[in-house]
Subunit: 199 residues, 2 copies
């Protein structure tokens, strides 16, 4: 069964790929808006970990809507959620038997409700799988330490490929660079460089 | 890392074990009340699938409380939930680094909330993992078909080892056999006999 996993090059989505690798033919899919070429960092991680890789361009309107929403709210949560759901819809339409993402049990955003998951599955006739939804932060950290080599740091310094960086770029362009710290400040992120020796 | 997985011999908990097997030293743990020797069916499945196995006896009071609750409610949900939480507490006290169960995304019972999961983890200094919580019924069925040989049928005819059969036995003993159909009727269950040839 072919599975497309929404992929950022970070520890969560890489661990999600490893959890599924025995059961599906996994393709790492990095969704981007064409605003930066950060998605190439995810392609490098896919190569280092031996997974198939595809990049897919999202609808630019989704980025504009998300950034407007962030500025209106004064915080990023609903904007991120909007882009994540749009990205899932996009990957669901790519022809895989199943799609997945790297959301953890303790993530506050993005979150996909059971009803939203069921709707996605029914409309696209696919399985939608969240392999880390039953793993808390501690379990994820311990599994990552045992299996992956990871760089970590603030999200404006670390290599990464998720659309957060593109949303910050768009935010700065439309509303001024100072808006980033006000509504969507950089936070600790990770970038996977390969497997630990033990793996 | 040593992980104890609450195990029934059915398809869900067996699939959960396979999902975790690359990342943990998995022991299948079958909890029972000493009312029947159905737990031996789970031991047989553990042997057929090559996993370590332990049986653990639960507190008889938990069975009595569950059965009283089922009769009072007229349905089994809260009684099952009571026993499941007691079983998790019991396995959490056995000394594993992590514990897990085979609950799926679409299960209505048992359910363990994020707050209950966090509390279990904090009090016992363990990780509590629900590997199938991000898998819907369709995804589980497709993975099971690809990996496991399974018998299925009504829960009063199929070999199985979960405590449901023991609770029905206790229910019949305390409240009469007709109570089973009234408050805790048999439903479709599965029993794993081994791996498919493809696995």
């Amino acid at each position: 069964m072919d599975l497309g996993l929404l992929y950022s090059g970070g520890k969560d989505s890489t661990l999600a790929a490893l959890l599924l690798a025995d059961f599906y033919d996994v393709t790492l899919v990095t969704a981007h808006f064409g605003i930066t070429d950060d998605w190439k960092n995810a392609r490098d991680t896919a190569e280092a970990t031996g997974f198939d890789f595809e990049a897919v361009e999202l609808d630019h309107d989704a980025a504009v809507t998300a950034v407007e929403r962030m500025v209106e709210d004064g915080y990023p949560r609903n904007g991120i959620q909007h882009v994540h759901l749009h990205a899932l819809e996009t990957v669901a339409a790519m022809g895989f038997d199943a799609i997945a993402d790297g959301t953890r049990r303790d993530d506050r955003v993005p979150t996909v409700s059971r009803a939203q998951a069921q709707s996605l599955e029914d409309r696209h006739d696919i399985d939608y799988i969240v392999p880390l939804s039953g793993f808390g932060r501690g379990a994820v950290d311990r599994l990552v330490a045992a299996t992956l080599d990871v760089e970590s740091g603030p999200s404006d310094e670390i290599r990464k490929a998720d659309y957060e960086a593109e949303l910050r770029t768009l935010l700065a362009r439309e509303h001024g660079a100072e808006t980033i710290d006000e509504v969507f400040p950089a936070h600790e992120q990770t970038y996977v460089t390969g497997f630990t020796e033990r793996r």
